[in-house]
Structures are given as C-alpha cells and as structure tokens.
Amino acid sequence: MKKRILALVLCVALVAALSVGLVLGLAACNNNDDTLKVGLICLHDENSTYDLNFIDAMERARVELGFSKAQIVIKKNIPEGPECYDAAVELVEDGCDIIFADSFGHEDHIIRAAKEYKDVQFCHATGTKAHTENLANYHNAFASIYEGRYLAGVAAGLKLQEMGYGEGTTLGNAPKVGYVGAFPNAEVKSGYTSWFLGVRSIISGATMDVTFTSSWYDQVAEHTAAETLISAGCVLISQHADSMGAPNSCKEHSVPNVTYNVSTESSCSGTYIAGSRINWTPYYVYAIKALQNGEQIAADWTGTLATGSVELLEIGTAAAPGTKEKLDAVKAKLIDGTLHVFDLDTFTVGGVKLTSFPADIDSDAEYVHETAVDLSKGYIEESTLRSAPYFDLDIDGITLPQA
C-alpha cells in the first residue's frame, strides 16, 4: 500500500514537473509571441493634424487594451515610397504582429510588405485595394465621415439661420457658402457634398463654391483659397485640408468656419462653429482584438457614428443657440437609420433625380466606374461596397472651379 501511494505521488510529481517545465518552456519560446507588438507608420509627425489624429488614437487604444508603451512602435515621417516598405519590414523584424499605416499613398508599399510577410497583419487606413488584392493579411479601413460632415453641415445651417438667412427673411434663402478642398477625388467630393447636404437640410436654397488646393497641407494656398471664396461672397467656410490656413483666414475676415479633424475654438474663437473627425481608436482596438482572438480582420472596415469612429468636435461659442440639441436629434436619426445623408430626394444631378450611379470601386489603371450602386433603397449607401468613400457625383447647387 505504502509503495503504491509512493508510486502515485511520484507519478503525480513527475507529471506536475513535466507540465510545469513544458509551460515554462513554451512561455520562454513564445515570449515574443505572447506580448503582442503593434506598429504604426505615419506619413508626417505630430506637427501634422492628420497624423496627430492617428498617433493620439493609437495612444488611446494602447490604454484601452492595457498595453505597455514598449508594445507600440511608431515610425514617423515615412514618405509614400520604398521607405514605407522598408519601414514595414523593419517593424516586422522588430517583432510587430500587426502594422498600421495612415496615408493613402502608402498602400502599394504596404501591400508589397504584406505579400512578403504572410503571418503579419497589415491594416491600411483610407486605402481602396484590400477587396481586390485578396490577401488574408491585408486590410483597409475608413469611417463614415460623411455622417460627421453632414452633422457639421447642420451646425453651419443653424449658424446661417442665426445670421438671418432662410425662407421669408430679408437676407433671403440663398446664401453662398465656400469649401476649400484638397483634391477633386471621391474622398473630398463625398465630404463636401455631405457637408453641403447638411447645410441644405436647414437652409434649403443654399449654394456652395468649391476650390481645390492640390495639396493636403498647404497653409498659404488654403489661406488664399478661403480669402478668394470670402471675397466671392461666401458667408461661411468649411474645408478638407489639414492646415490652419482656412480657419485663420476666416478669423481675419470674421466669417464663420466649420473645421475638420481639429477644433480651432482656442485660436479662432468667435468664428469656429463646429467640426468633425475620424476617431481611429475603435478600429485599432477592433483589429488588435481580432488578432488576439485569432479572428479574421475584415478586408474593409467602416467605422460609424455608432462605433464611435465618427465624432463631432466641440461646439464653438460662435455656434447658434440650440445647435447641440439639434445635432443630438439628427445624430440619433442617422444612427437609427431613419435619416440618410445621400437621400435621393434631397439632391439632383444635372437637374434630375438620380436613377443610376456607376461608382469606381475597384482600382484599375483606367479609373472605370464599373460598379452599379444599388439605388433601390432611395438613398446611396456610401462606404459599404468598400470602406473608402466613392461618392463622386457633382450635384446641383455646387459650383466647381472652371477646369
């Protein structure tokens, strides 16, 4: 009996020792794999509002996930060239398991790295090729920022109302607003059209002049563009470009301004009304958690108002009274699906209601608008066929620069 007990004890001890050894050994082997490491490639550094938005979002995601600072590696000032591919490779060599990139032009170089390192996940913000590349480890993400811009447009409309525009007023129902855009591409067009539709939901007769600076960040060009719009009679300005050029110009001319990405309340108090931005934290948390749980990250992920990816910035002191309440009401409608930004009844193209909309969803060298977007629901579903915006129609009421 004693011998049996001894044998049993010895067996248990042996098994225990073996399993402890195995666990310890595995832990030692997987030391690098257990602590997930995240890489982020930024086009510029924290001085650019665009990149700062990504860097801040990553820091919030880090806190939310309870990661240590050493688990996040950020590479800044990475141009849209082979440097981006090199940076991705170096991040892989440093043990990153998931790598994010923030600029449109990084896409091809990230894909190049993704093809080479199949067991590392690559997530590219604003890109368009994930759904056609069919790589299991390459993903695109964007947000339904058109909803945020629509809300900012509503705030602008309320401001116009406060300024005395509207039906039956002496100033009339046809104020002209201005928009400083970067490039005439789908992202910018979708952005200014949704903003304009927001304005028109309050002031139905409003019109808009748009200019393009051909740069995402050009302080002087944006300043001049805003000035030109103001002297052409625009009474309110918004922009889709990353510098303080347009907000400062509005401040100088006391013209109300709606911003993107950053609130200018501190420096442009009195002209800053509202703004919207994309919060990338939900996407970072989603993608990193998916990797942790061994789930496939979506090829295209679109953040929404509901996921917290689309945010309104603070309401400025210059905004019309009651703006917050109105925006909350509109936001609730957008979330529950009773209101749609690109409702076919709210705009016309070439004087008629839209009957078909071929969009350029798949990237190809000829930029063919190959995909017919479903209009049967009575509105255009933006950012569903792919995460990046594809609404690029020129709707009536918007005046584009003479080509």
């Binding site: 800044k76 141009p79 440097e83 170096e90 190049r112 051909s214 990237s363």
Partner: protein, 415 residues
Amino acid sequence: MKSVTGKPSKFDAFVDKLKKESPIHIAKRMDAPKWLPWVVRVSAVIVAIFVCAIVCVGEGGSFGGFFTELFRASFSTGRRVVNLLQEIAILLLIALAVTPAFKMKFWNIGAEGQVLMGALMSVVCIKYLGTYVTNGSMSDGGLIFICLIAAIVGGAGWAVIPAIFKAKWNTNETLFTLMMNYIATGIVAFSIVAWVPAGSFTLGILPQGHLPNVGGYPYIINIIVVAILVVLVWVYLRFSKHGYEISVVGESVNTARYIGVSVPKVIIRTMLLSGMLCGVAGWLLVNGASFSITTETVGGRGFTAILVSWLGQFNPFAMVVVAFLVAFLTKGGSQLASTYNFGGSFPKIMTGIFFFIFIACEFFVNYKLKFNFEHLRKEKNQNECVADDVIDVQAEDDNKNNDATESNMDEEVTD
C-alpha cells in the same frame, strides 16, 4: 579698411586695439601635417555623436540605450545593413554626380531636379512600354535597359540646359540650376495628375521594370552599380585628360584658355556627365527601389549630396565615409525616435548636429586659436603699479617673448 582721407579711422584703431589686447587670436595654419585634418574631423564626428547622445538623454532616453539603438538601426539584421547600404548608395551616387562640376567651380545645385527628371523618364518608359512586357513582346530586362537609357538622357538633358546658358551667355548657374529643380518637381506633379485622374493622385507601384532581388535582398544591384561608379568617377577625375581639364578650369579659366582648353566645351561636357550620373540615380530610385514616382522621390538627397561632396573634399572615397555617416545617423535617429517615442524631428536634429559640428571643425582644420592671457595679467599688473614704468616696459617685453614662444609651440602642438 582705410578711411578715404588716409588717416586711420576709428574702426582701424579699434581693430588695432583688438589685435594688441585680445586674449584670443585666430591664426591660419600654415604647415599643418597631412594627418591633422583627419584627426580633427574624426574627433568632430565623435563629438557630434556624443552631443546627440546628450540630446537623447535630455529628451528622456538613456545613454546606453542611445548607442544600442543607434547601432541596432543599421546593423542588427542583414536586411537593415542592406537598407543602410542602399541609402548610402543613392546619396553617394548623387554626390558623385555633382562632384565633377564642383571641381570645375560650376555650382550645380540642381541635382535634385536632374535625378527627378531621370526618374520621370524611367517611369514614362515603364508606363508606356510596360504593356509590351505584359504581352510578351519585350523582356523585362529589355525594358529596364531602355529605362536606363531614357533616365540618362533625362538627367543629362536637364543638366545641359543651364550648362549651355553658362557656356554661351555666362548666366548664373547657381540660380539657373536651382530654378530647374522647381520646374522638374512641377513636371512630375503634372505628369502624375495626367496619369492618375482620380483617387488621391498617387501613382502606385508599376508592375514592370523591377530590378530583381539578389539573395533575397532588394537594392543589391543598386549598391553594386554605385560601388562600380565610385571607382570609375575616381579614375576619371584623377587619371583622365578630362579630369585634368576640369581641374584646370576650376583653378583658372584664363590658364585653361592659355593651354588651349575650350572652356565652354569642358563646361558642357562635364555637366552632361553630372546629369548622366543623376539620371542613373533616378533610374536606381525608380527601377531599383520605388517602382513609382512622387514629387518626393528624391526627397532632398540632391541637396544633402552637395554637402557630402564638399565634406568629402571631392574625393569619391572620402565621400563614401561622409555618406555612410549621414545615412547611419539618419537611420539611427529615426530608430531612436520610434523607440523612445521622440518627436518626428529627432533624426533631423541629429543630422543637424552632425553637419553643424562637422562643418564647424573645418575652421580648426584651417585655423588655430592662440590664447594670450599674459596680456591680461600684464594689464592687471599695470593697474596695480601704475607708477612703475620700468616694470611696465619689462612686462611688455616679457609679453612679447611669451607671444613668440607660444606661437612657436602652437605650430608644433596640435589640437
């Protein structure tokens, strides 16, 4: 500076007073040994790296971590070594390209534009001939070769325009080549918009005309090409008749004319060579690295290369060392910035510190400081025993003697 009347002006008096009384004199080194400049320069590099380390510690990094990260950035894996060599290669090639013109005292600061035009020509070939590779009527190697020829023509063409204007009408080549950079950037921007009418106006990776990887690493061919060109340019400048003519034109245009060298011919020929080398750099950037083009493809290397050429004393092999230091510090700087989460400007601060100290050290290569504290001591004595003229004179004599011995010693003692 003598005043118009011939009398010594107040300024002259001030200068004289400074000369006599200043405790520090600057004197030109006349007979410094050959190894001295290199000792000064190597010390400058060491000082620069230590200043960078101090800045890093000040920012919240650690001293040991600074050196670990600095070296890890370039040497921790084979891939990183290749990336470092690629960066050196491109910078060095552009530095090689501007060197012949600089030796001729033709201030070509248009390398940025010349490389960009070379790159653009290469992209044009891929863009319009790529389909022939896809349908099999042309080999990829053939396309790469056509790209090379086109890039050389593009770079040389862009370089020869200011050279012709300089040779025929003696226009200012510095302004001319500088302006040509902006035009080249404009043409590239215009071409991209023409090719990419939608999207974010980004020309993605072109599928054809890629130089192959060697041994699993990219950039190897770039590195080999540049290594060969370093030797060729060195031979050309050092041993060829052309190289000699370049030196003569650089020393004195009149001497060149006197010995029968056609100066316009040398200017145009040398700038063609500069432009061709820039074209090769553009070709390597497109076919060997980016497979695409943006206005930032050259990324300021055309200007950094000018510094590399100068600091390398126009010697191709010395330029290798300088290019290595620049690339090594830039890579180390960005590694440190990402490890310690510094601001994005940190690599620029590091290279800034390096250039500042490295250029400043040229002062000590050419000049030396002479300290003359005896004089101050003498002044103190003077104040104490104003009445005693004898001592005063004595002191002055002593001072003179000291001065002499000190400067003799300076000649021998090195920094």
